[in-house]
Assembly symmetry: C3
Homo-oligomer: 155 residues x 3
């Protein structure tokens, strides 16, 4: 098997890999948070999920929505909407040879902003806590996109 | 144009590319499944989509939700939530030089788990079929993330 | 720090990076469109978001759904569902050494189709405008997936 020495010795790429793995693991945690609230609050979306709580009409009462569960789902979707652009743009940015300290600043701000966004959404903290967290993460991705498009473009 | 011989001769990367392409194609199939159920059951989310079925008030009755359509949409969203982390973490894992047989085991389990998850969701099969499929896919991604973070980290 | 000369001199990869950055930035614009409609129409999903508009019962009346906001959210989710496969399959396709002009045709069609899809969804234009835009983008991704799987496969 052929090794890829350049990528493994490229500090920016290793940093991107580390931060991406952490931020994606954080996003995956939202699935277990949803499952946890569904179980403890007995709130389900599918009849087969609450079959063990009763038969027929008795089980149907668990097919409902719940503020807490919907809140976690919105936080999860917001993660998806923001982490997907970070993933794509961040990968290309990492491969475009940016300055290590600049790249680390971007990655750290993004990870911090997304973690704070989740805390602000689930607690919930009063606004503009969540809005600020959102815009910091958004700004980081826009800044990387700008640096990519300014740098080299082929349309 | 410059060729990228290392990547094309890297078995793990070619395997990752093959499995990712298949799992993403499977996910795209969910869009056509949603469209199929919307058409056959005449269940639409936008007024312009059912304009051909009647004018004015007559068309509005098709603007509704349907258990079957919502089920496909939940399965699709669950795919997105799980395939995005697999995509990001799996790509970095493939580039980190893992053992070929270990990598293949991860990719095969993930693909199998996601296909079984869709079957269990759409049939629907009784629980814990879907839950097990979900946790196998989840476990594969966590295992790759752990291997990445243990291997080399730059924070 | 080690540079990655091959990738930066690979025209297909630079083209992929350019188009991906633009299409992801377009997708991120949907978040601000949602926020804009939520603000101007005073339609919120979380109590803390409309706390500044009144206290207690007075604020609760802003916790509602709105056709316009739901439309932008559906367009955003459709973007996610289609851009994620493009991101994964397109990256692998770019690294598989395709012909530059073929690759550019794929990327341009996809970007044009997704921009037209958003315009058709938000205006809204009568069908089949949106459906056609969807299928062009879908076809581009399927074509790249087919080219990848035909080319080299390791299962």
């Amino acid at each position: 098997m052929i090794d890829l020495p350049q990528l493994k010795e490229n500090d920016v790429f290793v940093a991107f890999a580390s931060y991406t793995t952490i931020v994606l693991s954080k996003m995956m945690f939202m699935s277990t948070a949803t499952a946890f609230y569904r179980m403890t609050r007995k709130v389900f979306a599918n009849p087969e999920d609450c079959a063990s709580f009763g038969k027929g009409e008795n089980a149907k009462k668990f097919l409902r929505t719940d503020d807490r569960v919907e809140r976690v789902r919105r936080a999860h979707l917001n993660d998806l909407e923001n982490i997907v652009p970070f993933l794509g743009i961040g990968l290309l940015y990492s491969l475009s040879g940016p300055d290590l300290s600049t790249a680390l600043l971007h990655f750290r701000l993004f990870l911090g902003a997304r973690i704070y966004h989740t805390i602000a959404y689930l607690t919930p903290l009063p606004q503009p806590n969540r809005a600020l967290a959102f815009f910091v993460g958004y700004g980081v991705t826009i800044s990387m996109a700008y640096s990519l498009l300014k740098n080299k473009l082929y349309l």
